[in-house]
Structures are given as C-alpha cells and as structure tokens.
C-alpha cells in the first residue's frame, strides 16, 4: 500500500506510482499476477478480519479538513458524511491521569531515609517543571518551561495541560 495516495497536485507526493503504473507493469510482465494477488490479499485481510466491513462509523468530515492533505487535493471524490467534529473523549481522562502518575519515577522513602520530616521549603529543579515561556510549541533550546510533546505525525494540541510546578 502506498501513501499518501492519488494526489496529483501535491508538490511532494506527485509521483505516485499506482495510477497507471500497475497496469503498465502488468502488461509488460514486470508485475506478476501472483504478486498483485498477494498485495491485494495482504491489504484487505485485516479489514475483514477485524470486522471493519460491518457497521463501521463514518469518517468525521472535520477530519478531512484538518489533514495536511485534505480531500480536494485527491483525485478520489471523498464523500464524507455523518456528524462533524465528534467529541470522542468519553471518560478517558481518568486513565490519562493514571498513566501520567504511573510514568513518574520516584524515590521510595524507606526507613525515613529522605529528609522530609517537616520541610520548610521545597525546591523544584528542572526547566520542564514550569509553564512554557515561549508557548507550548516553541521548540527552542534555551526555553524555560515544559515541552508537552515533540514534532512529527504523532504531534497534537493538548486540551488541558497541568504543569509540575502547579
């Protein structure tokens, strides 16, 4: 499967090989029918195996608009229907909070080894503890403040962000 698909006018993905190339290769024998069958079988098996062909939710139309490559850029006519901008967060905040707590590395105060009997002051060290001076996505080396997420396809905008210092 080749991504991002059939986008003839996109500067970086212009040369997509699927449109026309498959037919050409089949015609001149470069691509055997068994190889093509294998590709199709592999691509479609998970779809049916996971039951995605039965009563699957429609694509949220807002998702198309939010994509860097949005529907009008494709040769295929995406007909996106159904509720727009669905809130799918459910009650997942509880698990997110628990995951955050479980991911923190702490020292266990065994036999009262740590000087924590009656602390007058507690010092918090580390620039990740504070609110970001340059905004959450400043990505600058001399930044003060927490870096909630990195760059790349997994990047997103947080709805709520709790800073350590708080």
């Amino acid at each position: 499967m080749e991504m991002p698909g059939d986008t003839p006018n996109v500067t970086f993905a212009i040369t997509n090989y699927w449109n026309g190339t498959i037919q050409e290769f089949r015609a001149n024998g470069t691509l055997t029918s068994s190889r093509l069958d294998d590709m199709v079988l592999r691509s479609l098996t998970p779809y049916f195996y996971l039951g995605q062909d039965v009563a699957y939710p429609s694509v949220d139309p807002s998702s198309g608009d939010l994509n860097a490559l949005y529907p009008p850029m494709y040769r295929y006519d995406f007909n996106l229907t159904g509720t727009r901008s669905r809130d799918v967060r459910d009650s997942h905040a509880g698990l997110i909070r628990a995951l955050g707590a479980q991911s923190a590395v702490l020292l266990k105060n065994e036999n009262g080894a740590l000087p924590l009997k009656a602390p007058k002051n507690i010092g918090v060290f580390g620039s990740d503890a504070a609110d970001s001076v340059n905004g959450q996505y400043g990505f600058q080396e001399e930044d003060i403040g927490t870096l909630p997420i990195g760059g790349g396809s997994g990047m997103l905008r947080q709805y709520l962000l709790q800073v350590m210092l708080d």
């Binding site: 090989y17 190339t21 592999r42 939710p57 694509v59 669905r86 698990l95 790349g152 997994g154």
Partner: protein, 181 residues
C-alpha cells in the same frame, strides 16, 4: 494499563471513522538521545518496547482498529531522512539527477535481530495489521524497496501476513511496487 490505553485510543479513533491508526512506534528505538521521533516510542530497551508494542496493538485491534507498526526499520534519526538537492531542498522521490540520498543507517545481522528487529517481532506476534516502511536507507537500500528487511526479515523470517504501507511520499523507484510493498 498499556493495553487499556490501546483500547481507549482505539475507540476514539474508531468513533472518528478511522480504519487504521499509524502506530505504535518501535522505530526509532532510541539509539541517539537527540532522535527527533524517540518520544513517539516506548523505550530504548528492545524488550520493554516489545511489551509496549504487544499490549498496545492488542488493545487497539481488540476494538476493531488496524494498527500499523512503524517505522520499519533503523529510522534512528530525522536529519537527512529524505533525499535532497544539494541546495538543501527536500524531495521525496529519488530522480536520477544529482541528489543527496537519504541517510543510510547500517547495522550488522546480530544487532539488527537482537536490538532493532526485536520489538517488531513482538508486533508481528501480536497480529499487527500493517507495517510502515521508513524514509531512510538500511545498509544502502531504501526502506521501502529493501528486499532483505521487507521480504527476508519481515515476511519470511517473522512470517508477517499483513501489508506494508509506505511512509508518506516514499517509494523511491518502481522497485517498490514491483517486488516489495
């Protein structure tokens, strides 16, 4: 807990109508601390990452979403991950004129198996639907047309039965279509 995270993420994606989630990530594994996408994965330790992959994939696919183990493989740095012209302009395909190829990340057989392939093996065992081949080159050959990594390791040795999807915009020549993807 990792499994439950997979379940909840999976239900969110499904409710939005997505059929495939482009994750979880075991590549980059974390060879270099400065690796730009390290944060998307679990740990530089192959065993722990493998557990993370297995639990996440099981959770995601349990609600009917297809998972995609990425980026396969040795995608340990983002710098020069795509080919570029000498003036620095990036390109996604590799035309014959003078270009600077993607970085080639090289590893010997033992390193590949014990470190980098390990969590992908866990992913395959967990029944992951798809694997995404990477932008970089592995031992000189582009990730999406590398027969050793895609056929020899993934499909033959690990017995992967799902499909390979290219990273966005990468299919360097007709080689990819012909033999590997």
């Amino acid at each position: 807990m990792i499994y439950q995270r997979g379940v909840e993420m999976g239900s969110e994606f499904k409710a939005k109508g997505a059929h495939i989630i482009l994750g979880p990530v075991s590549g980059p594994l974390g060879r270099v601390a400065l690796g730009g996408r390290n944060w998307e994965g679990f740990s530089p330790d192959p065993y722990l990452t493998g557990v993370g992959m297995r639990e996440t994939i099981s959770g995601l696919q349990s609600v009917g979403l297809q998972a995609c183990a990425k980026h396969y493989i040795l995608n340990e740095q983002e710098s020069q991950r795509n080919p570029s012209f000498p003036n620095g302009t990036m390109q996604y395909s590799d035309p014959p004129e003078a270009t600077i190829k993607s970085v080639s990340e090289n590893a010997d057989d033992r390193t590949m198996h014990e470190i980098y392939l390990w969590p992908f093996a866990d992913a395959v065992k967990a029944g992951v639907s798809s694997v995404m081949c990477s932008y970089n080159r592995i031992n000189g050959t582009y990730g999406c047309q590398n027969s050793k990594t895609l056929n020899g390791l993934l499909k033959e040795e690990l017995g992967f039965q799902g499909y390979v999807v290219s990273d966005w915009g990468t299919k360097q020549s007709s080689h990819s279509l012909q033999v590997f993807l």
